[in-house]
């Protein structure tokens, strides 16, 4: 059974069809990239998946369970976490706190246990802190040591992107959705992040749905590529298959042209 299934999903916004009869699957421990020109509906797929947009027609199943009617935080608790194209970290919180917030959905201590600092609160808090530090350590030395207590607004753009991924990892999700994680990064940083996404799968056992414009990133790590245009799936397969598909080339470049690998 696939981890994530989209079955004939259609979403209209005031007469405009944003997603049209879209079906696809993501298997466990797979890295699937969603590509397509601007406005193709890539981010919309993510927003439907995380419950930020109302579900249209069709069924979205995660781990065999329909996501219909669930609020975003409930979906996250099931094991789906994301990053945002526009970077939505908590600017006024420290780096470590930012990551620790992700642990909310798998911690349980209520107000009373917190106020009294019961032993179970202490152990839970220690566990969350350790988890957050561990996830930050995943990014090497960049978000380590003195950085833990720095406010997030002092971070560079690339570090903010890493922080967002660390926060998503801390939710305990096994399915990560990264919305243009390399946007605004220089080629070196992009390459490094690409390698990291690979490690997320190999070492962390994560399944990844990636939205990306940078074809070199997509080509390097994707197990499978799905191309969207006008809310419809126009191609699916390996990177080479999809990028040589005439429909994809047409969507990107108009008629007559070749996609540059």
């Amino acid at each position: 059974m696939a981890l994530l299934e989209f079955e004939n999903v259609t979403l209209n916004f005031g007469g405009l069809t944003v997603i049209n009869d879209l079906s696809f699957k993501v298997e466990e421990q797979e890295i699937v990239s969603l590509i397509g020109p601007n406005g193709a509906g890539k981010s919309t797929v993510l927003n439907i998946l995380t419950g930020l947009y109302p579900p249209g027609r069709g069924v979205v199943r995660f781990d065999g369970r329909s996501l219909a009617g669930l609020r975003p935080h409930q979906i996250t608790a099931l094991g789906v976490a994301r990053t945002f194209q526009t970077l939505r970290i908590y600017l006024n919180m420290s780096v470590l706190e930012n990551v620790m917030t992700g642990a909310f959905c798998h911690t349980r201590c209520g107000p009373l246990a917190t106020i009294l600092r019961l032993p179970r609160w202490r152990s839970e808090e220690a566990r969350v802190r350790a988890l957050a530090e561990e996830n930050l350590a995943f990014f090497g030395t960049r978000l380590q040591g003195y950085r833990h207590n720095q406010p997030a607004y002092s971070l560079s753009y690339a570090n903010r992107r890493r922080l967002e991924i660390a926060r998503a990892m801390t939710t305990g999700a096994k399915f990560l959705m990264l919305d243009e994680p390399t946007a605004g990064m220089n080629p070196n940083e992009s390459a490094e992040l690409t390698e990291l996404i690979g490690r997320l799968r190999d070492e962390g056992g994560y399944t990844t749905l990636l939205i990306e414009h940078d074809m070199s990133v997509v080509g390097t790590i994707s197990d499978r590529v799905i191309a969207l245009d006008h809310g419809e799936k126009i191609a699916e397969g390996s990177y080479d298959e999809v990028t040589s598909d005439p429909k994809v080339i047409e969507a990107y470049l108009g008629r007559r042209g070749r996609l540059n690998p």
Partner: protein
């Protein structure tokens, strides 16, 4: 049932009068909020300033010997002085208390506005009087100056309120729709930074907005004094609160919405105090607000806000 019918016309007229006043105040709130996303809590006190300026003109022109000039002229000069004066005060408030905070955290201008409200109210209390000022019943407009419409008799002061409101609203609509500055206002309300980059003098537009809003509130202050015959320095708070409620109910940023919200609130209040109990007349505005916001979060005539993820 019979009592209901007998009281109905008068209740409607009362509601219309109150609603006009709330609508005038609501417009200023709505315009400022539309442009700066600022809850201008001092707006109610601008209305109070208008009421006091109008009263000052009244005292000067209406001596113990009687009116120095015809009543109509007195009323016009009261309105003009109050409108201009309130406008100037409001512009000063914007310049000194809000403009330095345009890019500060959201709560800063709000607190500043509360501070301005304190300053205005208590300065009036110190310099004029802590006690209510009274026009004296029948002094300005004789008690029997009523117009009979069938069984219904409407006092001239109420017609004055409704008429003035109508004229001011038409003028405002013309200004916003047809003039260059009005277009600039609409542009700034959609995107302040973009408008600035398109060569619109944003500071000027904001000042004009504050001025116009205050002009309407100043007029409302004078009219309230003429109808209810008494003003005091604390009158701005509740009226401002209701004006803002009206603006939110009608859909903030919308001119017809502010008027509709004002009328709805005025009617609700008038009907409550006649048919239920005057105790609850202030509570009803709040109940209307909650109901409207729950049914239609962007207000009666407001456009829903879009959020991009």
């Amino acid at each position: 049932m019979e009592i209901f019918l007998t009281l109905l016309p008068q209740t409607l007229i009362n509601g219309l009068t109150l609603g006009s006043v709330y609508g005038l105040i609501a417009l200023g709130y709505s315009m400022v909020y539309g442009i700066l996303k600022l809850l201008n809590f001092a707006h109610g006190d601008i209305y109070m300033i208008g009421a006091y300026l109008g009263y000052g003109v009244f005292i000067m022109l209406f001596t113990e010997a009687g009116a120095l000039i015809p009543t109509a002229l007195i009323i016009v000069s009261m309105l003009v002085v109050a409108m201009v004066g309130a406008g100037v005060v409001s512009v000063a408030v914007e310049r000194f208390a809000y403009r330095p905070l345009r890019y500060a955290p959201r709560i800063a201008p709000l607190i500043s506005a509360l501070g301005v409200s304190f300053i205005l109210q208590n300065t009036v209390q110190i310099t004029v009087s802590p006690r209510p000022l009274s026009y004296g019943s029948g002094t300005l407009i004789p008690r029997d100056a009523s117009f009979d419409l069938g069984d219904l008799s409407v006092h001239a002061s109420r017609l004055l309120v409704i008429g003035t409101t109508l004229v001011l609203m038409l003028a405002l609509t013309y200004f916003v729709r047809q003039t260059r500055l009005g277009r600039a206002m609409r542009a700034v309300s959609i995107d302040l930074d973009a408008a600035a980059m398109m060569g619109i003098n944003v500071n000027q537009v904001i000042l004009v907005t504050f001025f116009l809003g205050a002009v309407l509130a100043g007029a409302a202050g004078v009219l309230v004094g003429i109808v209810f015959l008494s003003i005091r320095h604390t009158m701005g708070f509740l009226a401002g609160l209701k004006g803002f409620t009206a603006a939110v109910v009608g859909g903030i940023g919308s001119i017809p919405g502010a008027v509709a919200g004002g009328l709805l609130l005025g009617m609700a209040e008038s009907f409550t105090s006649v048919y239920i109990s005057a105790t609850f007349k202030d509570a009803v505005a709040f109940i209307v607000l909650v109901i409207v916001l729950l049914l239609k979060p962007s207000g009666l005539m407001g456009r829903p806000l879009l959020q991009k993820v």
